[in-house]
Every structure is written in C-alpha cells, then in structure tokens.
C-alpha cells in the first residue's frame, strides 16, 4: 500500500494532474519564500536547517503497522510549523522531499508537486491553523503545549493522507471503481495510527525545547512578554 513510503512514486497519478499540482506547489512555495525571507533571521536560519535535518532523519523511521505490508513514517509538518513557523516550515519539509526524491529516489521526481502539496503544504498549513487556534484556547502550560503538538501532529498526517486520496480521485492511473471509499478508509485508518506516533514525537520535542529554550519556539513568540526578553542568537550560552 502507498503509505509504506508515504511519498507518491512515478506513475501512480497521471501526468496532467501531476502537472497541475506541480504548478500549484511551485506557486505556493514562491509565496512561502517571499514570506519566509522576513522570518529567517540569525536564530531561525540554523534552526530551519536543523528542523529539516531532524525531519529527514525522522522520516527514515518506519513504523510497521498491522501487517508487514503496511507501514508508514513520520512527516514532521507539525513540528516544523511549531518551531519555525508556517512559511519556513513548509520550505523545510519541501527541501527534505526534494533531496529525498533526487538522492534516494524516494518519491518520484515527476510526482514532487503532489508530494509537496500533501506533506509540505497541506500538512503544515493544517497543523499551523490548528496550532494558532489551540494556543489561544489551551492553558499556557507544558501540558497545554503538549496537547497542541499532539493534535497538530495527528491531524497533519491525516490531512496529508486525504490529500493523496483526493489526488487519486482526480487522476489515479488505475480505476478502482467503487473502491475509492475503501482507499480513503484504509488511508485514514493507517494514518491515524501513524499520526499518534507523529503527535507523540511532536509533543515531546516541542515541550522539551519550550522548557529549555522558549525563544526557539516560533508559535510561542507572539504570546507573553517573553518575546522582548528573548536573547539574540546564542546569547544565553
């Protein structure tokens, strides 16, 4: 099943749909580049690199789920959105996908637009919207932040999986007949399980970072007075 490697391989979705999504992904990435430039200061530049490296490493951990044939890996969109913000976050995930496609052949080069749309754009956007909403509602405690991270991680994975189902509905190369609902069911079911793993890793990482270096968590910047007192790059060490 597709979730094993998560990235869509060449030939699964037809050419025209892939081209449309490539154009969409390109346009969205241009927006992210323009907005991200404003965010990327001395503190965020190395952090963005580390977030990308972390996601790169984490995407290699494959969870076996249910049977040997079905497994999946983490995506990291929620973590990126929490730590470096939606714009730079989407760029980080996109960079990971491009390098994986070029260097490891994980995900087809021609399907990059689809993969970037699902994992980098949909995943990050959904989780950031949730984060922005939840952080206003939940108490400002480590537990509240952990809950936010968990939910954002879980939802981002499921949204990305639904993105694939939508794309398959638009331009899957094989007509599954009435089985599209079955595909959607399998994808969501499997990805809820992966999402739990993603949520746990997102929550533990972000809580640890927020406890020791709250200045590094983008999502917390606009809150509380801590922002003004945030040290410059490396100032605390």
């Amino acid at each position: 099943m597709e979730p094993v490697a998560m990235h869509i391989s060449n030939g699964i979705i037809n050419g025209p749909v892939a081209a449309v999504f490539a154009a969409f992904a390109l346009a969205a990435l241009v927006v992210c580049v323009l907005r991200g430039r404003r965010d990327l200061d001395d503190r965020l530049a190395p952090l963005a690199g580390l977030v990308a490296a972390f996601i790169f490493a984490v995407q290699m951990l494959n969870f076996p789920i249910l049977t040997a044939g079905v497994s999946g890996h983490l995506m990291g969109g929620a973590l990126a959105a929490l730590l470096v913000g939606p714009w730079v976050g989407a760029l980080c995930v996109a960079v990971v996908l491009v390098v994986q496609a070029l260097v490891f052949g994980d995900g087809g080069v021609a399907m990059l637009g689809l993969n970037i749309t699902n994992i980098a754009l949909l995943g990050t956007a959904a989780s950031y919207l949730l984060i922005a909403l939840l952080l206003r509602v939940v108490p400002r405690t480590p537990a509240g932040l952990a809950a936010t991270g968990f939910v954002a991680g879980l939802v981002s994975v499921v949204v990305a999986a639904l993105g694939f189902v939508g794309q398959y509905w638009l331009g899957g190369t094989v007509d599954l007949g009435g089985n599209l609902a079955g595909l959607a069911g399998t994808m969501v079911g499997v990805h809820v399980l992966i999402g739990v793993g993603e949520g746990l890793i997102t929550a533990t990482t972000v809580v640890t970072v927020a406890t020791v270096r709250p200045d590094l968590v983008y999502a917390l910047r606009r809150q509380g007075p801590a922002t003004a007192a945030a040290p410059a790059a490396g100032g605390v060490r």
């Binding site: 030939g11 892939a18 490296a53 007509d175 533990t204 640890t208």
Partner: protein, 255 residues
Amino acid sequence: MAAGAGHVLYREGTSPVHRLPPEVKIAATVTGTLAVVATPRAAFWAFGGYALLVAVVAAVARVPAGWLLTRSLIEVPFVLFAVALPVLGAGERVDLLGLRLSVEGLLGAWNILAKGTLGVWASLLLAATTTTRDLIVGLDRLRCPQILIQIATFMLRYLEVLVGEARRMRVARLSRGDDPRFLWQARGLATGVGALFLRAYERGERVYLAMLSRGYTGRLPQPGGTGPAGPGQWLAGAVVPAVAVTLAAVAVVSA
C-alpha cells in the same frame, strides 16, 4: 544516514558522468523522468528503450548493475501496491494463472512498476555520481531561491551533527547500564528525542556562529575545480534526455 560530503549512495569515481557539472545532471534526470512519466503505458517498447538508456549511463558511470538493483529495493512498497491493483481494479477481467484479474489493474500495475523503477534508477544514478555538496551547488546554479539553498545546506551539515549527537547519547546510556537490543533501542531514543533535538541545536548554533564569525553571508564559497557548465557540457548532458524525449514523443504520437 551520515550524509556529508559523500553520502551513503555516492560512489567515488572519475567517469565522464562523475565529471559532468551537477546542474547538467540534475536537469537531465528531471527531463528524463518527465519523459518516462509522459509515455503511454501500453508503449512497452519505449520502456525497453529507457531501460537500455539507464544501462548505458550506468556502464559509462561504472555503476554495477547489482548495486543498482539492490538499491532499488526502496521501491518494494509500491510493488505491493501494484500487486494489489489487478485484484482490486474494476472493469474487464482476464484469466491468468487461474486468477480472474482486471485488465485495467494489470496495466496500471505495469505502469506503476515500470515508471517507478525507471525513476528510482535515474535518481540512483544521479546520487551515485554526485556528492550532496555538488547537488546543492547544482541547485544553486539552476537559480533555486537562496532561502531554499540555505535550508538545504544546513540540513545536510546538521544531519551529521544529529547523527553524532545521537551516537553520543547512546554511548552515555550504555555506560550507565542500559542494555538495549534490537527494537527496544527505540524506547531510549523516543524518550530522549527532545533532548537530542536541543543538544543538536546548541551544537549547530555554535557551528553557525563560527561560520558567521568567519564571514558567512548566507552563501557558501563555490568549490574550486569545476566552474558552471559550458555549452559543450550541456550538450553532452543533453544526449540522454534528448533520446528519452524522442522515445516519449514517438510513443505518444503512435499511441
């Protein structure tokens, strides 16, 4: 996973393919892959042609066929997806080996297998002949936005920091009496994942500040040796994608 100057898939060499500037190889890989994907799935002869092209490039680059085949195991998940299609697919059915299979599903499975495999081979050939550092230089010369180049550069440098830090934490756990085996190692890693991130960040931050103090302005100095590709090199690199595009065009027209 240690992706430094030479990543795991890189094969040291001085073949003509190795010496081709990275931007030419990236452009060739992408164009070739697009041609393969655009080919109608029933044009079986065209896929044979692509496989032949891959074999020729591999021979010139001195990449052994066995290496290419073992590394393409990354594709196995998609093979499983493809195997399920003839059973799940709708429409007309044929009898094959005592099973009633969907024609549509069989063709679809072939489509995914052929295009996926050729794409993986193209990427593997690129990876085998190009260091990650060169890859970034190539993307930079192809006018990729600076912010992406910067993120990618840091990502590749910090991968080593991350792996090194994880190894140190493992040694620290072992020396305190932890005896992880096989899958149970994951537990120690999972509970320490936040700490790992922080430690790697603080090390990476020091690396970054050291770079800044040595005059880093957001762009690494271009490596000596190879300059940007000249017209001759672009022409040499265009041969393979040109053949692939021609095959695809013929296949589309005759379909």
